[in-house]
């Protein structure tokens, strides 16, 4: 089967080798603020967001990106709910690799954005979650493709940009998924040092590979820790400093999403988002109130109930992950 989707985010490994050769491996401070970090995203860039669905999404960064009115990006819509939907709400991208879009999983789907995707104004290339994970992994390994056994025989294959290959040892047919080398990745983490060494607790999704694959890596972090946190236990280093370009401290930076071991998602607020997204007008009001008319992320947090609400979500998280049940 020939695929007809546009190949996005692909580079020749030799071109990427030259890029990574020049990228500094010095351990220098990368501390900056959200505005500066957002300015690293350029017109036409392929952008990848870490996390999964409603979990560990760098919301603070994405809100700032919307305020900066970034346009014409190419997005990876991979296992994505809140990140994709916010990026779509800001009409920041017009092409995307899509493996999962629009829906907030068990909570429902924002109708306005569903309509936006149905309008044909975003050009999509289809993939499965596994294929997207493997595309990052191919890049992380320094390869141009990986052979996999998924997507074969389906329209998902047809509307992708994958190609069939044959195993030289067995004659088996494989699908070759092309490497995905994003221009910029944004990953929210539990802790980082000023050099970019970063710690993620809980599921990793594709973030280790995304950080290896991307030209620029922006880390938003719940807190800054000393480098000794990593040197005393190297297993804490989920992402090493030499891959990182910017470190931004964003406490509660994934709200209203779930930051595992820190705070649970704000289900009520996500439902408010979904309800607002039932029509264009209320959705625009939601966006104005929570993003465009806010000077920064703290204003949004205050809108949503401030410290009282955040402490409630922290308590909820304790109940789930420590006590193992809701009180």
């Amino acid at each position: 089967m020939e695929s007809i989707g546009e190949l996005l985010g692909f580079h020749h490994p030799d071109e990427m080798r030259e890029f990574f050769r020049k990228k500094s491996k010095k351990m220098t401070s990368k501390l900056t603020d959200l505005k500066q970090a957002v300015s690293l995203v350029k017109e036409g860039d392929y952008i990848s967001i870490g996390g999964f669905g409603t979990v560990r999404i760098p919301t603070a960064f994405i809100n700032e990106l919307l305020r900066a009115k970034k346009k014409n990006l190419i997005a990876a819509c991979f296992t994505s709910n809140v990140d994709t939907d916010l990026l779509a709400a800001g009409k920041t991208f017009n092409k995307a690799d899509a493996s999962y879009i629009i829906s907030f999983e068990a909570l429902g789907a924002p109708k306005v954005l569903k309509k936006y995707f149905e309008s044909g104004s975003i050009q999509l290339t289809e993939w499965s979650n596994g294929a997207m994970g493997w595309r990052y992994k191919a890049a992380a390994m320094g390869l141009s493709y990986l052979p996999v056994r998924s997507m074969l025989g389906t329209d998902t294959q047809k509307y992708s940009a994958a190609k069939e290959v044959t195993c030289p040892f067995t004659g088996m047919k494989y699908l070759a998924v092309p490497a995905l080398y994003p221009d910029v990745a944004v990953i929210h983490v539990h802790a980082a040092d000023i050099y970019g060494n970063s710690y993620i607790r809980g599921v990793l999704v594709a973030d280790v590979d995304i950080a290896k694959a991307s030209k620029k890596v922006i880390i938003t972090t719940e807190k800054i820790v000393p480098t000794e946190f990593f040197r005393d236990n190297p297993q804490n280093t989920t992402i090493p400093f030499y891959q990182v370009d910017a470190v931004v401290v964003t406490p509660y930076g994934s709200y209203p999403c779930n930051m595992p071991y820190e705070y649970f998602m704000d289900v009520d607020h996500l439902r408010e988002f979904l309800k607002a997204a039932e029509d264009e007008k209320t959705f625009q009001e939601y966006l104005d109130k929570n993003i465009y008319n806010c000077n920064d992320f703290y204003e949004y947090l205050d809108n949503c109930g401030g410290i009282r609400r955040l402490e409630y979500l922290k308590d909820l998280e304790s109940q789930i992950i420590i006590e193992g049940g809701l009180r």
């Binding site: 089967m1 996390g51 899509a98 879009i101 998924s150 025989g153 329209d155 998602m265």
Partner: protein, 258 residues
């Protein structure tokens, strides 16, 4: 006699298909409830995995996202999506659980678009992990409400492979042998697949449902080899554990089956 709604019925029936020690890739909602119920009643050694990376958690509540903190509670691993997909590719996962907007007689699933791909009438989320699961797990189980709109002769987009065009088609496409759709559990019946033609067959009818009900809600010819069995209705114990222990907050069982 017990009373129960369609969702409870589907969950209870689905919970019975797992042998103890089976491994399963789970999504949120009905699949998760069914697996939690199975673990408590029929398959205490069931190995539960989630595509965001969690393996073998002790689930404290119904997850909202397959990557949320509930899936990590007392888990034995919290790895990556590729880790999970490769576990399936290596042949370690017996069952996966899927839904879908359209299903055809070969168990092919559409969760991408209704209408033309480029300018669709309805856009759905797309594959997510479904295509990977259905390509590489041993057995595909679907749990979906039964309607003529959903059970259709020609689906608009094959997001996720069933038996594709029939016998041998999966192997020819390059998919691993001996895999494919296994059971479809709806609010009306349990369906399986015919060994020879790979088309959907009726296996058992839920209490109070007639064959005509099923035919009227199925847009293709369902193979009915003999008088189908009647599905064992949810037992009192299944319902009690489902309501009290699996979903005490009624996050799933009081949702409407769309």
């Amino acid at each position: 006699m017990n009373t129960y709604n369609d969702i409870e019925l589907m969950i209870c029936v689905a919970s019975r298909i797992f042998e103890d020690g089976a491994s399963v890739s789970v999504g949120t909602g009905i699949p998760c409830a069914a697996v939690m119920l199975a673990q408590k009643l029929y398959a205490p050694n069931i190995l539960i995995t989630f595509e965001a990376g969690a393996v073998a958690p002790v689930l404290p509540a119904m997850p909202i996202s397959v990557g949320d903190s509930t899936t990590m509670h007392k888990a034995l691993q919290t790895g990556s999506t590729c880790d999970q997909m490769e576990m399936i590719q290596r042949g370690l996962i017996d069952y996966c659980f899927l839904g879908g907007a359209q299903i055809d007689a070969y168990g092919n699933i559409n969760s991408t678009v209704i209408g033309d791909y480029k300018k669709p009438k309805v856009r759905f989320p797309g594959s997510g992990g479904a295509n990977d699961f259905a390509s590489m797990a041993w057995r595909i189980v679907m749990v979906v409400p039964h309607s003529i709109r959903r059970f259709t002769n020609k689906i608009d987009f094959i997001t996720t492979p069933g038996y594709l065009t029939g016998p041998g088609a999966r192997e020819q496409a390059g998919l691993p042998p001996n895999t494919g759709p296994y059971k479809i559990i709806t609010n009306l019946a349990v369906m399986g697949f015919d060994e020879e033609t790979k088309r959907m067959t009726l296996e058992s009818i839920h209490p109070g449902v007639s064959i005509d009900d099923i035919k009227n809600n199925t847009g293709f010819e369902l193979i009915i080899k003999q008088t189908p069995k009647q599905t064992e209705p949810p037992t009192q114990e299944e319902l009690r554990i489902l309501r009290e222990e699996v979903d005490p907050f009624k996050a799933v069982i009081e949702r409407k089956a769309e």
